[in-house]
Symmetry: C2
Subunit: 429 residues, 2 copies
């Protein structure tokens, strides 16, 4: 489709300190022109024009780390000690999940993500065929990894699943689906298992999505097992020879930060999950100073408990200011870059995450005509410090309008609500 | 009006760990019956029935500390060092504010607060006559204090203003307006000035709303001046002989906590302002353990930058978990109590803040038929950990429906937007 958004406020996703005003043109699944940047062919005529007067237009948000189907466990057995919550509550339910449960749980997550302005998510879970089907149908963009645990009975079948996913889904849905490898964490993946994972990465040129140094206990466990930090462990196993997305990175040494920087590892920062589960505060300002690419993630809905990236971005900005006791730590402009272009870069998506001619048309329109956006002093500060997911009015992914006036066009909302409610009742019995 | 909300989920505001289901009846400005609790006269017939099937019904949220008219400065000159922001940016603009600016800035704040489920706010600012007019017209409930600075040229006129406010507005608008005295902070109110404030408190039986120990610098300043902590200073000046609301209380000693507890001082906790301005983290779990009444506040919109109490409640719950490194610190049930009955108690509102027969009908209905509230595992966790201001569908204050299907019935939204936008352009020139 040829789409023209006329006279809107725009943020590029690349360190903006305030919005500019202008037109934005889309041709097919690409951005053609942003304000004065880019050229329209002389005979170019839009098929559709959107009046941008009250819209703030920006790249879609990128949720760098989640477990989408865990929406089924949202607010289930919260406020328990971590071990009791995980071992007595979450794992027994996860054992009962069917492929269809994962499909509907993922669909609910995608609905929630689109409704709050997320256009790409990076997932780690199981029954990934069903996740990919939900991605294909809904129109969202996603990087999907089958979670791999080398210490359990499913180590080998997980590798086989991953191989099949790479063959079946890599680049599917017009390139909207990417398949990553998902070795769960250093403490669940011993060296010989990681070796098999890396062989697959080599054969299929796939990236590695892994939890790293989320809790102090995990760091201690790896220290006890291997006499080194989780980051050094992964480095020594050769993981960082491949594009790597390291989720959490809460407990790092200065050497760890150097290693991540030298090896171009991307980090997925999940501030609200780390706060709610009391994991700790990741040293994000230091990571950014070291030149590390940082994206933002919500983690699964059972540890957050929503998938609202606008909220997550704000929590990141607020948390690091108070943690550093510095009101200049992580300014609004930097938080916004992390949640857009930073996330895209961490996921290796070369032409996603910026409002820029030639980039994929993954774009959201935020409705500015609301009490909490007046007066319009600074739209970057408004977006990061005052916005909420429900402010997103329109979502365009890969050039296709998937939400308009807050109605998601690709998903039958009522059917999703009914399916997940019935499934949750079965699972929680 | 006689109003019946049929078959809704309900939270009382008093430490709920999950919702109950039932009917809620309102007669005039009071709650008559909540589920099985309370009696309907045999011939009682509602004038209006609301189908509560998809609603979560709870006491309206209580914003314990804000400066409402500062919406005019929302996102103005953010991400600057605190001193430069305050002295070079905020104060010069505040010097230019007119009474009409304060009226419209407050009206914008009230619109935003009602839209996000706040039914009572506690304010400290100037031109309070205009604030009171906005409260009267909009239908919200408020405790209003004229900010008093004893070290500046307006010390005496501020006292005179306060006296006039007490005579003119105490108990006005059917009891929705209360007037408090607002000595700004220990470092702006020397002992002889506080003495005059307390004389007024004595004469008019008014409470004291004051900033306390917000920053480490302030604590140092009071230590240098008087050789004691801000809390001890206020105690020794006799402030705590009167009902006192202490805003912030970030930097406290154990002795301070004992003093606050022994003297029944209420605390207004503003987690997001304290995070964004990098003031520090208030020891809320310790205050609660000491039996101190704690409410939640947003602070002004220039240091937050919205007035969304659902978000503020979540930030409180998340922040203290990570600060204490304990996922059980400040559970959802406790955060909800703070934002409802805790706030009412801190403001001395005896019959506000609970869903209970005989209490004022200050009630909000949250629309549960949304992606981020499925599946319905636990509604307290949903509300505290997943909700956003825009989920509030209906707001009832003092028995009057002031918002329905997200439309605020008492305020002309378009006029407010136009007024504040024009005024901001004049002020920021």
């Amino acid at each position: 489709m040829r789409l023209l958004i006329k006279d809107c406020y725009m943020l590029s996703g690349d360190g903006d300190t305030d919005a500019i005003k202008g037109d934005l043109a889309i041709e097919g699944n690409r951005i053609l022109k942003v304000g004065a940047d880019g050229d329209l062919p002389p005979d170019w005529k839009p098929e559709r024009v959107i009046d941008g007067k009250d819209y703030l237009c920006l790249p879609g948000l990128i949720n760098c780390h989640t477990h989408a189907a865990m929406t089924l466990l949202r607010s289930y057995a919260d406020d328990l000690p971590l071990k009791a919550w995980l071992e007595d509550e979450i794992w027994p339910i996860e054992d009962r999940l069917t492929p269809e449960d994962v499909y509907w749980g993922t669909m609910l997550a995608i609905l929630e993500m689109i409704e709050s302005g997320t256009t790409t998510f990076s997932d780690m879970y199981f029954f990934v065929d069903q996740t990919a089907e939900a991605v294909e149908k809904s129109g969202i963009r996603a990087c999907l990894a089958r979670g791999l645990v080398g210490t359990g009975p499913q180590g080998e079948s997980g590798l086989l699943d991953s191989k099949e996913l790479l063959e079946r889904w890599q680049g599917a849905a017009d390139g909207r689906v990417s398949i990553w490898l998902g070795p769960h964490a250093p403490y669940t993946c011993p060296p010989d298992y990681l070796e098999k994972v890396l062989k697959l990465a080599q054969d299929y040129k796939a990236g590695i999505h892994i939890h790293v140094a989320e809790t102090a206990a995990e760091v201690q466990q790896i220290e006890d097992l291997y006499g080194k930090t989780p980051v050094r462990y992964l480095k020594d196993c050769g993981v960082f020879q491949f594009p790597t997305l390291a989720a959490h990175c809460v407990h790092l040494t200065e050497d760890d930060i150097d290693v991540l920087a030298e090896n171009g590892v991307g980090v997925a920062h999940n501030p609200e999950s780390n706060m709610k589960l009391a994991s700790g505060i990741a040293p994000i300002p230091q990571l950014l100073s070291a030149g590390i690419t940082v994206g933002v993630g919500t983690d699964g809905a059972s540890s957050n408990n929503n998938l609202d990236m606008l909220e997550e971005m704000r929590s990141a900005a607020f948390l690091h200011k108070v943690d550093q006791m510095d009101p200049l730590a992580l300014p609004a402009s930097q938080a916004l870059s992390m949640a857009t272009s930073g996330g895209a870069k961490a996921l290796g998506l070369q032409d996603v995450g910026l409002l820029k001619p030639g980039y994929k048309a993954d774009i959201i329109l935020v409705n500015l005509h609301q009490a909490h956006f007046y007066p319009r002093n600074n739209l970057v500060a408004h977006l990061v410090y005052a916005a909420r997911g429900s402010d997103v009015d329109t979502v365009i992914i890969d050039g296709q309008i998937v939400m308009e006036e807050r109605k998601v066009l690709t998903i039958d909302k009522e059917q999703v609500f009914q399916e997940v409610e019935e499934r949750a009742q079965r699972l929680n019995r």
